[in-house]
């Protein structure tokens, strides 16, 4: 290919096009101006979404990556623009979300001089990026961006930050085309699969009387939903999910036994401590899942499938660690395992589900009180969408309720901030989620606390006209903290009483239709109206002030000590 002159800024955009990153979320500023200047001429090939805050930009990038399965791209300027990305980077790091963030930086000759809007973003973001790199010369750009996209998406995905000094953006150089990266000698995205561990795992499963499969986002990230389904179906094993594994297996699958962890379902938590073989697939034994670790599944032989070798034996020691991409390891296991009927074992789960339904679920989704509950809102959403919507949640009580009760038919339908628990995630993430799945209905379920953290992104919705349904479940409290204060701090409600603006008026100010529901009789119609509305819509639902999320594994307790009330 003949060389042509390009500026560093143009080379950045060429890389985005070559990588198929046609949607970019960003915010301009001094040090990234050359890239924005170049963007002016790339309007036909790249869609840039102007957000209202860089944190909103990166959460949108995350939402986009989660629903589309592609790498999210985020632009921000130096200094405060770059530091505003940090929360999103930490969130993407802990939730393994593929992102390439491009930040502008002061001129190379000014580095280290405390120049205007200079910040050492490389060192600031080192613990919260899979990889980061500072470019000071334009000739590096094609190679570095190829590496950035490759690292973000391959192996265990994660966020990559590339900091580009202003001189490198301006500099012209001989552009020789874009070559995608597919190998870095010091980086091994997938560990070698060892046959002996596959064999050992197969033998354990075949001898198991009460096996339990627990799965996380690895199934989705590995695009291995089909392989996973075949694996559990062949030998009839019950499968329970972590919050990020949600939607990898349809909710109504007969072997889907529910959610793990602190606010998970009764059966999978209690029976974790009764199963004889625990098969963990693409999950990392977070403390919210395991509860007290020294009382976690001690009776069980543990098989752990993970693409990241550092996850194996990190929290829970594996008897058999199956390193590798689960898209490759699951079929190998499926091949070896015997077909079995485990209906008796599944019946045990069903009995627990019934108990939980009677004591917890029924009252939550069909409440007998006057106050509306979050659970009934989600139930009506399920009935209206038939489980086909993407549900984006924020962090707190509504998140737990939504994840517990939302129904999903399709994978990549649940977008939430799992590991980091970032309040303010949902509104911008829902914007990104919609851009990542334009043909799907996207519903953001948000609490009255979280929505106020990034409410400025209503401006992004206004300007782009993106169709996002916003449901604020307002209990006039920072509900999850209030629940803990009630249960563990003698009801000393310290700074959890949070006031809200008139959300419908706020939405109106941004040109977004909205309504508020205070009585049950209006709920169903309101939800139907919201979903039928063309374009964005904000629905505020007043729910019971002091409702608690149950079941609950109190902190420091074993999963088998889960409380139903």
């Amino acid at each position: 290919m003949a060389t042509k002159k390009l500026t560093g800024a143009q080379a950045v955009l060429e890389a985005c096009i070559a990588e198929g990153a046609e949607t970019i979320f960003g915010y301009p500023g001094g040090a990234i101006m050359p890239i924005y200047d170049a963007l002016y001429d790339y309007n036909d090939k790249l869609k840039h979404i102007l957000v209202r805050h860089e944190q909103g930009g990166i959460h949108a990038g995350q939402g986009y990556a989660r629903t589309s399965g592609k790498v999210g791209v985020v632009f921000a300027t130096s200094g405060p623009g770059a530091t505003n990305l940090v929360t999103g980077l930490a969130d993407a790091m802990i939730d393994s979300t593929p992102l390439v963030c491009i930040t502008g930086q002061v001129f190379a000759h000014l580095l280290g001089t405390d120049a205007f809007q200079e910040t050492d973003i490389i060192n600031i973001t080192m613990p919260v990026t899979k990889w980061n790199y500072q470019v000071t010369d334009a000739t590096e750009i094609p190679g570095i961006l190829a590496k950035a996209f490759y690292l973000a998406r391959s192996g265990r995905p994660g966020p990559v930050l590339i900091d580009i000094t202003k001189n490198a953006q301006i500099q012209s150089f001989d552009y020789e085309g874009y070559t995608p990266c597919n190998h870095i000698r010091s980086y091994r995205p997938k560990p070698v699969i060892r046959k002996n561990f596959i064999d050992e795992a197969v033998a354990l499963i075949n001898n198991a009387k009460k096996p339990l499969v627990i799965f996380g986002q690895g199934v989705i990230l590995g695009k291995a939903e089909k392989e996973f389904k075949k694996f559990i179906e062949k030998s009839g094993m019950p499968a329970a999910w972590t919050i990020l594994g949600l939607s990898a297996l349809p909710t109504d699958h007969p072997q889907n036994v529910g959610m793990l962890g602190m606010h998970g379902n009764y059966g999978p938590n209690v029976l974790t401590n009764e199963c004889d073989v625990l098969i963990a697939v693409g999950m990392r034994f977070d403390d919210r899942v395991t509860g007290r670790l020294d009382k976690y599944a001690k009776q069980a032989k543990v098989i752990h499938l993970d693409i990241d070798p550092s996850e194996i034996d990190k929290n829970v020691k594996a008897h058999v660690g199956v390193w590798g991409d689960c898209k490759e390891t699951l079929p190998l296991l499926t091949l070896g395992i015997q077909e079995k009927d485990r209906s008796e074992w599944l019946k045990v789960f069903a009995d627990y589900t019934q108990k939980e339904y009677n004591q917890c679920i029924k009252e939550e989704i069909y409440p007998s009180t006057d106050e509306m509950t979050m659970g009934e809102v989600i139930r009506i959403v399920n009935e209206t969408t038939k489980g086909n919507a993407v549900v984006v949640t924020d962090v707190g009580q509504h998140q737990m309720v939504a994840c517990r009760y939302a129904k999903f038919n399709e994978t990549r339908s649940n977008v939430t901030s799992g590991g980091l628990g970032t309040m303010g995630f949902a509104l911008p993430a829902a914007i990104g989620a919609k851009f990542g799945a334009l043909d799907r209905t996207v519903i953001a379920v948000i609490g009255d606390g979280g929505v106020q953290m990034t409410i400025q992104e209503l401006g992004t919705i206004m300007q782009t006209g993106v169709d996002v349904k916003i449901m604020i479940l307002n209990n006039e409290f920072l509900g999850m903290v209030r629940q803990w204060q009630q249960l563990f701090n003698d009801k000393r409600y310290s700074f959890v009483d949070i006031q809200s603006p008139d959300y419908v008026m706020v939405a109106k100010a941004y040109g977004i239709e909205g309504a508020k529901v205070e009585h049950r009789k209006d709920l169903q119609t309101a939800i139907e109206t919201m979903l039928a509305h063309k374009g964005s819509y904000l629905l505020e639902v007043m729910v019971g002030k002091e409702n608690n999320v149950f079941p609950m594994v109190p902190q420091g307790c074993s999963v088998s000590e889960i409380r139903l009330k």
Binding site: N182, V192, E200
Partner: protein, 200 residues
Amino acid sequence: MDTNTEKQEYTITVYTENQVGLLNRIAIIFSRRKINVESLNTSPSEIAGIHRFTIVVMESRDVVMKIVRQIEKQVEVLKAYFNTNDEIVWQELALYKVLSEEITEKVKVERLLREYGARAVAIRKDFIVFETTGHREETNKLMKALEPFGLVEFVRSARVAIIKESSGFHEKLKDFEKKQPSEDVIENEYLGKREAVFTM
């Protein structure tokens, strides 16, 4: 003694690309877990362009294994090993500055040099600099011996270590350069041996 939970000295050897900022990436793996690094040395390795870190920590085997995996996870790290002291040959270098007047008058310098295997690397009218190499106890001994005679400055290098069982990195590097690395590159020798290796 339980080798998995009992703390002892471990020497971590890391082969890396030569990249700005990598030192920091490795350092924060320790600092995030509040683990003190006893000594750290970076140097070229037997292969041009490949760097070698030698890091000494006082930790349990369990913790060291987890750290080594976190180190290996870094994009620019090729391989990390960890070894106990009996698996390596190691040295540290120490320099001692003493006043010439003091030392020549009060000490039989030649006996000192012979006894501690020291060398004089600088001899001036006003001061002398001695050098020893060895394990910490050995370099400490000379420090103790010189202290009464007004030791002006003392400095000791980080540990450098050679792994006894290692056959170098040349062959391994060839494996890394292939798109599909060989099994040798990915070592999971302890997997599936939980009872033998781990305790909870």
